[in-house]
């Protein structure tokens, strides 16, 4: 059985370093993009099993990426976890309204995040 594939879209190398490291250790295949456009393109071309999507991305915001992906039939049920440093109620509402599966605010526990990723993949797999 191939490893589940996770696409990480985040432009901050310092968080990507840890995320990538821990996701790989948890047994996932990880691909990283650092802007919204690439995230949209990669996810549309070859939908991953799960998308970790930062809200504040250059070129195309996480919200925009999420909304556009949901419009694509292939990505309609793709689990998308949005990551943000803002964490206001209204922003969470917006993310969920635009199609995010889950919403995680920084600082988050990577340990918990890995557990959440696992449960989402189990459910959709």
């Amino acid at each position: 059985m191939p490893k589940p594939r996770i696409l990480i879209a985040d432009d901050e190398p310092n968080i990507v370093l840890s995320l990538e490291f821990l996701m790989e250790r948890a047994g996932y295949a990880v691909e990283v993009v650092d802007n919204g456009e690439d995230a949209l393109r990669r996810a549309a071309e070859d939908p991953p099993d799960l998308l970790l999507l930062d809200v504040m991305l250059p070129r195309l915001s996480g919200f925009e990426v999420c909304q556009r992906l949901r419009a694509l039939p292939a990505c309609r049920s793709l689990p998308i976890i949005m990551l943000t440093a803002k964490g206001r109620d209204s922003e969470i509402s917006k993310g969920l309204a635009l199609g995010a599966t889950a919403y995680v605010t920084k600082p988050f526990s990577v340990h918990d995040l890995v557990a959440q990723v696992k449960s989402l993949l189990d459910r959709s797999g």
Binding site: N14, S18, Q67, K86, R88, D89, T105, P107, F108, S109
Partner: protein
């Protein structure tokens, strides 16, 4: 002299008394005599008859001489003393009575003089006390006036009925600058504040103030947002003026223009927001790195070094950012104007009006959350909503937009959308970060910034089934009333400045006819015209007006407007009025000016000299201007004829001279209006002396004069 006959009467009475005694004695003696002696006495009496008469006259003279000093001392003197006392009491407290002949009268005179001295000094004391008090009040008034004019906030004080009692120059600037030139005069003492601010908004705010008063809030105050007649937003604050009763006697409104305070608060919010975000992000990175090191005990030195470097970098960056933030905070947060409570209904109504006007699109409102309150910078929010509507118009060709509100949990949704637009996909591309205004206070602000300031979000959604595309603005629900602390305290009954008479003046809706002339509000006006025959096409070229309130001419609130008559002027009129064709070029026409003048005259009685002439001009313009002047009218020409029927001339100059009013600016509309106003003010007490007290009295008296029959 009424004392002379009384003296004669007294002398006569004395003579009669003496004669009566003698006659009585004679009769008694006569009765004791026998017949022979009586007969012997008769010729004797006849022989001395003449002498007897002489004796009586001498007796009278003697009595008169004897009585004169007594009469002077005890009858004339008290009368003189009484007159002198009356003089002291009514006209001249410095007057003193002169020394008297008799000791009793000397006593009385000195008593009167003592009383007069005491009275005079008491009077002087009272006067100087009054003078000092007046000076104090005057000084206080000047101080208050100076203070008010220095305020950067506009201030208007109203009584409970909404009549303005006081305003400062900033309020005047705010409303003048924003209103059209013709509307400048809506602000004025005694005028209704509802001409400036929506009655329902005032009523609503007053209701909220009263609610706070009932709850015993220490400093009841309500913030709201309003707009000037020209449509610009103002931040307003209402505080009550408490009287002796439970309901406030009036209220103080303060205003600032919405734009000027914006920057401070917005930068403060932004700063906090960005600090929180960078803090969270940095902590997130540090935590993730720490967890990675913790989870993987088998890291090699290179990997370990990379995670440690992340932790160090993030910690340093965070420390730097906090340092910067603290400094920026100190700089920026000095003054902060809070977001104010505004109901969704008000916001949407404002927005609908603004969008309809500025974008020329049809706006439907579909308010499901009219009563929900949000805390908003409504100025920014209004422009943000309008900008979103503009995107629908420009981007999707929407001719009509809808504004829809609903409440969802702890949030309010405000949707700006359009219907019947097929095949559009919702997108977040670009619009969030475009500037919503190119200049002004909101220059280069974006929807994103506006949303961040409100703790809100905005996105676009499409509902293909309903053929709708809309922007959804999500804002946190506010609390309609800030939780003000409940404080038990006893308050002084009213602020320390004035006793404004108008607080106790009821509105002018009562039957005017029975109101006293001295209590009414007047607009005294005059027109200049191209000629004397309105029915032959002569036109008004200038209107000047000035108001009288509480017996005072309000010269600072005058109305003065030149009018383009749209016809050539006769050379004669230019000579009289000093207004030539060039001056009238570019002035508004009569149909624009009369509605403004009509507003100026609201709730007042019109006064003019030879009013029939001016009123005729106004009446002929009723159709064209769409306003009718139905106010009661008083004519100073007729009133002058009432006061001085025998005098020939009732021309304005002649009356002015008679009343000691100096004429300045004769034959300018405003100059004449002011002269007429001063004359009218001086006529009011004279009319009252003749029993003409009410408006009805004045009308009836005027109608009886000859001049009332002249027609134009």
């Amino acid at each position: 002299m009424r004392t002379w006959p009384r003296f004669l009467a007294a002398v006569a009475a004395a003579v009669v008394l003496v004669l009566a005694v003698i006659a009585g004695y004679t009769i008694v003696v006569w009765n004791t005599l026998d017949a022979a002696r009586r007969e012997a006495l008769v010729p004797l009496a006849a022989a001395y008859g003449d002498t007897l008469l002489l004796l009586v006259i001498m007796l009278a003279l003697g009595l008169a001489l004897a009585l004169a000093p007594l009469f002077r001392a005890y009858v004339v003197a008290p009368q003189q003393l009484a007159q002198a006392a009356r003089l002291i009491a009514t006209a001249n407290p410095g007057h003193r009575v002169t020394a008297q002949a008799s000791p009793e009268m000397r006593e009385l005179a000195s008593a009167i003089n003592l009383l007069a001295t005491r009275y005079e000094s008491a009077l002087r004391e009272a006067r100087s006390g009054m003078e000092a008090a007046r000076r104090d009040v005057e000084q206080e008034k000047n101080r208050l006036a100076a203070l008010m004019s220095e305020l950067t906030h506009g201030v208007i004080v109203c009584n409970a009925e909404g009549a303005m009692l006081l305003y400062n120059s900033t309020a005047r600037e705010i409303f003048a600058q924003r209103g059209t030139a013709l509307d400048r005069t809506l602000l004025g003492l005694g005028r209704s504040v509802f001409a400036l601010i929506d009655r329902t908004l005032i009523a609503h705010s007053l209701g909220r103030v009263q609610e706070q008063l009932r709850r015993g809030v220490a400093r009841p105050v309500v913030h709201f947002v309003t707009s000037t007649p020209a449509g610009d937003l103002l931040r307003a604050q209402m505080a009550p003026i408490r009287g002796n009763s439970a309901a406030p006697e009036g209220y103080i409104l303060t205003f600032t223009e919405a734009g000027s305070e914006l920057a401070f608060a917005e930068r403060g919010e932004e700063l906090l927001q960005s600090l929180a975000e960078t803090g969270r992000a940095a902590l997130g990175n540090v935590r993730a790195a720490a967890e990675a090191m913790h989870e993987a005990a088998d890291l090699d030195a290179a990997q370990r070094g990379r995670f440690l470097r992340v932790i160090r970098e993030e910690a340093d960056a965070l420390a730097r950012r906090l340092e910067q933030g603290a400094r920026a905070h100190a700089d920026e947060m000095r003054a902060q104007w809070p977001l104010e409570d505004i109901s969704c209904g008000d916001l949407v109504a404002h927005a609908a009006a603004h969008i309809g006007q500025s974008l020329a699109v049809e706006v439907q409102t579909d308010a499901g959350a009219t009563d929900a309150w949000i805390r908003a910078d409504s100025y920014a929010m209004l422009h943000a909503l309008a900008w979103l509507a503009q995107q629908l118009r420009d981007g999707h060709g929407a001719r009509s937009v809808f504004l829809r509100t609903s409440v969802s949990g702890q949030h309010v949704h405000i949707d700006v959308g359009a219907r019947g637009i097929a095949g559009v996909e919702a997108s977040s591309a670009g619009w969030e970060t475009s500037a919503i205004a190119q200049h002004g206070e909101l220059a280069r602000r974006t929807i994103k910034q506006v949303m961040e300031r409100h703790g809100g979000e905005a996105w676009q959604q499409a509902d293909p089934a309903a053929g709708e595309i809309y922007f959804r603005v999500l804002l946190p629900l506010g609390e309609p009333m800030a939780r003000a602390p409940v404080v038990e305290r006893v308050y002084e009954s009213r602020p320390e400045f004035y006793d404004f008479d108008l607080f106790h003046q009821s509105g002018q809706t009562a039957a005017l006819d029975n109101r006293r002339l001295a209590d009414l509000a007047y607009t005294v006006f005059d027109t200049e015209t191209t000629g004397l025959e309105p029915s032959r096409g002569d036109e008004i070229i200038a209107i000047g007006g000035v108001r009288i309130l509480n017996g005072r001419m309000l010269a600072h609130e005058a109305f003065e407007q030149l009018i383009d008559p749209c016809r050539p002027l006769s050379p004669g009129s230019a000579r009289i009025t000093g207004i030539d064709a060039d001056m009238l070029k570019g002035q508004p026409t009569i149909d624009a000016v009369l509605p403004a003048f009509h507003r100026y005259c609201t709730d007042t009685v019109l006064v003019a000299h030879n009013a029939a002439f001016d009123m005729r001009f106004l009446q002929l313009k009723e159709q064209k201007s769409g306003v009718r002047f139905t106010q009661p009218v008083l004519d100073t020409l007729l009133l002058s004829a009432v006061l001085h029927p025998a005098l020939e001339s009732h021309k304005l100059e002649a009356i002015a001279e008679r009343h000691g009013v100096s004429i300045i600016g004769r034959h300018t509309a405003l100059g004449d209006a002011m002269v007429t106003a001063e004359i009218f003010l001086r006529m009011i007490p004279q009319l009252a002396e003749r029993g003409i007290v009410t408006l009805k009295d004045a009308h009836e008296a005027a109608q009886r004069t000859y001049y009332a029959r002249v027609r134009y």
